[in-house]
Every structure is written in structure tokens, then in C-alpha cells.
Amino acid sequence: MPSWLNRSQLVLVAALLAAGLAQFFSNHLDSYVLSVAMGVGINIVLASSLNLINGFTGQFSLGHAGFMAVGAYTSAVLTGKLAAQLNPIFGGHVYLLFPFALVVGGLVAAVAGGLVGAPSLRLKGDYLAIVTLGFGEIIKVIFQNVEYVGGAKGLNAIPDYSNLFWVFGTTAITVYTVWALLNSTYGRGFLAVADDEISAEAMGLNTTRYKMVAFVVGAFFAGIAGGLFAHLNNYINPSGFDFNKSIEIVVMVILGGMGRHTGVILSAILLTVLTELLRQFGDYRMVIYSLLLIVLMILRPQGLMVWPFKNPLWFYLKAYWPFRMLARRPTS
């Protein structure tokens, strides 16, 4: 183990290599399976980044689809309309255009996050939810009215740059970022803000700053997820990033147990696959989906993976590695 990498970073590098390998062998995979797998990865990015805001820091944002839209449109414009101007910058390395577009999309979303957060993070609970909800709607209306990006019709013919490497590479980086951010003395401050803002301030924590960091980092990854989504679907339109999309991500976080790393990842996987499986039911899809959610919330109101499991088998299993990770308390 190189001395400049510690264990968690080694896991990250391993995950990136795995994503690369998966991409290398991906031509053996069915294209439908591939696209579902990438949908899963994108939703893990969305859910984990929202978990930083709503779960760990205890804020209630309903704006995630809005940040996703900002990233999606920004990156799609960069790889589409502006590609001809940008490509010379990369010399012969045209493949760099996509990661560049993703990162710029993320940064623009992060700036949007900062602009929305600065005035509204002083608000609490429901008020923040309303402001971020309003932001999401405003973003939608803006894109609907800008002809440059296709107005209500949206943008199509976006190149299909998203692949297993970019999607799962991003997933790994997002999960690492949220994990590493929280697992430090500095990072425990996010949880402290969620627990009690008044005493967090009394202990010298600038609570507004913490909320801002969570918000901006969360928006950044939502923006990147938007870029991946755009280059997976090849088509985006404003109503794809509406209120329902935000709710979908919020549901993943709640079902995963608000502020649990593993639980939220699992619930993102579960809900994405479930949505796919339900496609065959056509119009009844949303009815069944809602019913399943209700049942799940009744069975596990504290979230999918939240401790303790009652099953005695678990008592023995949790002593062993991958289970041991699940059994840990929220963030350590």
C-alpha cells in the first residue's frame, strides 16, 4: 500500500479500476441491462448527495432535480452546440470533452446551489423546502423559455458518452466524498448541526457555513448526475426535472434511513430496479410503486437498513465483513 494513500482512498481507487474494467468488458452486456445499471449508478449519485443535505445535515431540500437540470443542460450544451469550439482546446484528446463538460455542469450547479442557499439556509425545515421547491420550478420554467436549449421541446441528439466507467467512477467519487467529508472531526459538525443548531453555534460552529458546504457539494454532484443522465438518455427536456423527480430522490433518502451511507445506496438501487420492473404494468406503474412504498415504510419506518435488525441470524452475520459495514452506526 503506497504511503500516500490510506485505506479509504485505496477502496476508491479500486472502485475506479473496477468501473474501468466493467466498461472494458461491457460490450458483452445486453444494452438494456447496461442502461439500467447506469440508471442505478446515477441514482446512487443523486441519493448520496442529497443525503448529505437532507440526511446528515438535517436540512430539507426539494431542489435536487433543479440542480440536476442545471448540470444536464450545461454539459449537453458543451458537448453539443459548443463542441466544435471546445475540441481544439483538448488537442487530440477529444475524449476529455465529456469529463470536462460533466465537471463544468457540476460547477455551474454548485454555483446555483450557492445562490439558492445563501439567502435561504437561514430558514428552517418547511421554509427551506418551499424555497428549494420554488427554485426547482423556476429552473424548469427558465429552460422552457430559452430557445437556445430547445425550449419546452428540450434538447435531443445529445451524444451517448455516458458509459459504465464514467457513471460508476462518479458514483465511487460521490460516495467517497460524502463518506470522507463526514468521517473527520470537521465532518462531525454536519451531524451536530442536524442535531441542534443552537448548541452547535455555542460550540463555535458556523452553522450557516456548514449548511452552505453541504448544499454546494450536494448541488455539485447533482449537476454531474444530470450530465451523466443527459448523455445516457440522449435527450432532455425541462419537465423531466420537475418536482416529481426531486421527490423521487427524497424518497430514496428517506427509505434509506436519512443519514445512512449504505442504506441510501441500497434504497437507490432497489427503487431504480423496482421502477424498471414495474414498466410492464403501464399506467398502473405509479399505483403499484406508491403501494410498495407505503408497505415498505410501514415495515421499516426507520429506513431500509437501519439498526437493529430483529432477525437473530443477523446477530451472527454482522461480525463478518460485508455485513460489518452495514452494522456500523450511521457514519463511522
Binding site: 490510506n6 482512498q9 470522507a180 463526514l182 470537521y186 451531524l191 455555542a202 460550540m203 463555535g204
Partner: protein, 262 residues
């Protein structure tokens, strides 16, 4: 802290029609153990909230170490060297005992979000150092054996002591303790007061203590400030305050347990 310590100059706060604190002036000198007493609703907690920036005074000014702190945000005041505990315990309930304390080292951290991500050698060095200092503080208050328990699962007395440990981690020069012994039995109370005197000497703290038990307050405080209905009615050494007719009148028939302070 410079020689001036904490100074309240005619501090007043009104909540609508109610004047909770009215033209209170007081000084807490560096290294002094002072008491703040008064009947229920006298405004003691409100004075703490004014000092720590939870409320801004309607009128008057507050100075610490020779600089005005009126109008600063609470975390800025903590950064100036004033820490507090809460009468109605406000720990980070879902965090472990250990995390409750280490998070309070925040003001002295070299790390931020960047270092949490890069996790270089200095980051690990700092984390080890903080673990050691946290352990030390927890040991003084005999809380090290519960370090991995969530704070909300602790017994009441432990929670109160954890509040003090957490405040100490901010490395204050002035510590405000709001009824730290509330709900403890007499033996625990005596032990806690010894501990408070110990940390005062060890960390060279000034302490302002709110406590209803007159025996305790008279026993350890060097100087006592008395509030009634938001006004300051007396100030002096324990002996002076005990003899003060206004104080006796304020307390007569007020607390059946302690009776008049005579």
C-alpha cells in the same frame, strides 16, 4: 483575557411587553468564580443568552477582554473565549459522547472539508491528537467508559457533565454554567462542585455559575450577583449577599427547600 474580563453595561432586553433583563451591569474578572442567583424567572438564563449572542440586547453593551461583543453571532463569541452549558441540556443527542466533545474542538481545527477528503499525514496527526485530548477531558469527568454511547442514552447526571466537557473543549477563558447540578443528588452535587473548582484552577478559567442551592453557591463562589425580576438587586461576597436585606426579602418564602438564605 485582559484584566477587564466580562463586562455588562446596563444591558436590557424586552420580549414584547416583558422586560426580562433590565439595566443589568456586572463584571466577571479573569480567573474569578462568580455566582449568578435569583428566583425562578429572574432572568439568569436570559443573561447567559445575551452574553453568548443567542439574543441581542435591546439596550446596553457587553464587552469581553476589552472588546465589544454585542451583536456578534454565537459562534463568534465562542471564538472570543466564552463557552456555556445549557439549563435544558442540549447535547448532540445522536452523536457519541466522544464525538460530542471532539466536534467542540472546531474553533482550533487546522482541517476543513479539503483535508477531510485528502486525508494526508497532517490530517491523521491532528485526528490522533484530538482523540488524545478528548480522552483526557473525558477522563477528568469519568466519562471515558461511555465514550462510544450516543449522548442521549446517558443518565441525566452524565449528560450534565458531558455538557461541561464539551464546553471546555472550545478552550474558553470564561465558562458559563447554567444550573450544572440540577437534578443531581447532594453527593453528586458536592462532587461536581469540587470538579468545577478543579477545572477552574487547572484551565485558569473564569466561571459564572447559576445554581439554586445556596449552600453550594455560598460555598464556592468568590463573588455573587443577585437578580430579581430582571433587575440586579445585589452584588458582593457570599457573606455580604447573605446579610443583604433585599436578597433576604427576594428569597423569603421562595424556595421551601433552602428557605431564607440566613
Amino acid at each position: 483575557m485582559s484584566a477587564t474580563g466580562l463586562q455588562l453595561n446596563k444591558v436590557t432586553i424586552r420580549f414584547g411587553g416583558l422586560t426580562a433583563v433590565s439595566e443589568v451591569s456586572a463584571t466577571v474578572r479573569p480567573g474569578e468564580l462568580a455566582g449568578l442567583i435569583g428566583p425562578n424567572g429572574a432572568g439568569k438564563t436570559t443573561v447567559f443568552n445575551l452574553i453568548t449572542g443567542v439574543y441581542s440586547p435591546t439596550e446596553g453593551a457587553i464587552e469581553f477582554a476589552g472588546r465589544a461583543i454585542t451583536g456578534l453571532r454565537p459562534f463568534e463569541i465562542t471564538a472570543r473565549g466564552i463557552a456555556r452549558t445549557f439549563q435544558n441540556i442540549r447535547l448532540f443527542g445522536s452523536l457519541t459522547v466522544f464525538d460530542n466533545v471532539r466536534v467542540a474542538f472546531h474553533l482550533h481545527l487546522r482541517q476543513g472539508p479539503g483535508q477531510s477528503l485528502s486525508r494526508g499525514p497532517t490530517f491523521h496527526h491532528e485526528e490522533r491528537e484530538l482523540t488524545e485530548r478528548t480522552r483526557e477531558l473525558l477522563e477528568i469527568f469519568k466519562l471515558d467508559r461511555v465514550r462510544d454511547e450516543p449522548a442521549r442514552s446517558l443518565p441525566y447526571g452524565d449528560q450534565r457533565r458531558l455538557e461541561i466537557v464539551r464546553a471546555l473543549a472550545t478552550q474558553p477563558e470564561l465558562l458559563l454554567l447554567d444550573e450544572p447540578a440540577a437534578g443531581m443528588n447532594p453527593a453528586e452535587k458536592v462532587e461536581l462542585m469540587k470538579l468545577i473548582q478543579f477545572i477552574q484552577e487547572r484551565y485558569k478559567l473564569a466561571i459564572l455559575l447559576v445554581e439554586h442551592d445556596m449552600k453550594v453557591v455560598m460555598g464556592i463562589c468568590q463573588r455573587i450577583h443577585v437578580l430579581e425580576y430582571g433587575r440586579k438587586i445585589a452584588e458582593g461576597t457570599p457573606a455580604q449577599v447573605r446579610e443583604n436585606p433585599a436578597v433576604i426579602a427576594a428569597y423569603l418564602g421562595y424556595d421551601p427547600e433552602n428557605g431564607p438564605t440566613k
